[in-house]
């Protein structure tokens, strides 16, 4: 399937792309546009003005996608807290990691293309997932 989002991605879009590829559509192809009008009919838009899979009711797009596809894995919701705070910084969640993630993605946006950022952040989110999973299982920090 084709998935479309706004170009010059930041934390929410990078995390959504990872989430989509891992949990929704293994063969997802991503496209980046500057205007919502450029979204092709056959593609699914996310984190873009007017899209169903976007910010809604105070949720960031990552949270919207979790709700939309009934992904109720608590590990993913822990990642959602980090993504939400890195993106919106509204203190809804306690996620001190958010500041670091924000810096990381802002830095990458200065040096890499959107495609390259997705390639790089995929394994990063895999690692974060494993860390959060073990944290939840152990009830403490795993490493």
């Amino acid at each position: 399937m084709k998935w479309v989002t706004r170009e010059r991605i930041h934390i929410d879009r990078a995390a959504c792309a990872w989430l989509i590829r891992r949990y929704v559509d293994r063969d997802a192809e991503f496209m980046f546009v500057s205007d919502p009008a450029e979204v092709p009919d056959e593609a699914t838009a996310f984190d873009i003005s007017g899209a169903r899979l976007s910010h809604h009711g105070g949720d960031c797009s990552f949270e919207t996608i979790l709700r939309h596809f009934d992904l109720d894995d608590p590990v993913l919701w822990r990642i959602a807290a980090i993504v939400h705070e890195a993106d919106l910084d509204d203190q809804r969640y306690d996620a001190p990691e958010a500041a670091g993630m924000d810096l990381l993605l802002r830095g990458l946006s200065l040096t890499l293309s959107d495609e390259e950022i997705l390639q790089l952040t995929g394994p990063v989110f895999d690692g974060i997932y494993e860390y959060c999973r073990r944290s939840l299982l152990l009830g403490r920090e795993p490493s």
């Binding site: 010059r8 930041h10 003005s49 910010h55």
Partner: protein, 189 residues
């Protein structure tokens, strides 16, 4: 600065209208705009220096306005004169300067009270969070920015000063008896 800017920079503008009632979405939108540090040009027209992030932030506010039954639009614009742009920048810098001064006053109070080390560590953390929040919306840093950083750092340094007592001789690490015992002797040319 000695360099002369050839032309004015790009700004992202949000125009919006929201019904007066209910007032909750109105104040929620205003709170968000305040947090972003926008320059208010006139009623329902705010501006930020254009960038991927500022543009996105205003886009989400625009969407929130639309969700609340209002109308909003995002524009990219360039002031036609430098004076116009300088005025915007000055207004924004002055707003941040006032926020830094409030923070400096709060930090000074903490520094001058006899709170214990633990309370000061907590106060330093709160002040740093507040400092960071202001810095995130500080697009034209005034001199007060450095002063605020120093004032908050001074609070953070306080507990350490209080805890730093003269070391007892016994716990001081033993030093080598003579330099030559530990350090290779330098060859003389």
């Amino acid at each position: 600065m000695t360099s002369v800017r050839a032309r004015t920079g790009e700004w992202v503008l949000l125009t919006y209208r929201l019904p007066r009632e209910p007032s909750t979405p109105r104040s929620a939108v205003w709170r968000k705009l305040k947090k972003l540090g926008v320059a208010q040009i006139s009623d329902g027209l705010v501006a930020l220096p254009a960038g991927a992030r500022t543009r996105e932030q205003l886009e989400w506010v625009a969407e929130e306005v639309a969700d609340a039954g209002g109308t909003a639009a995002i524009w990219l614009a360039r002031p036609t004169t430098r004076a116009q742009e300088d005025q915007l920048a000055l207004t924004m810098a002055a707003a941040r300067a006032a926020e830094y001064q409030v923070l400096i006053a709060a930090a000074t109070v903490v520094a001058s009270t006899g709170a214990d080390a633990g309370a000061r560590v907590g106060a330093a953390r709160r002040l740093r969070n507040e400092l960071r929040a202001i810095q995130r919306r500080d697009y034209f840093p005034p001199a007060d920015r450095d002063q605020a950083e120093a004032a908050v750092q001074a609070v953070a340094d306080l507990p350490r000063q209080l805890l730093a007592r003269p070391r007892r001789r016994g716990v001081q690490p033993a030093r080598p008896a003579s330099k030559s015992a530990t350090w290779p002797v330098q060859e003389t040319p």
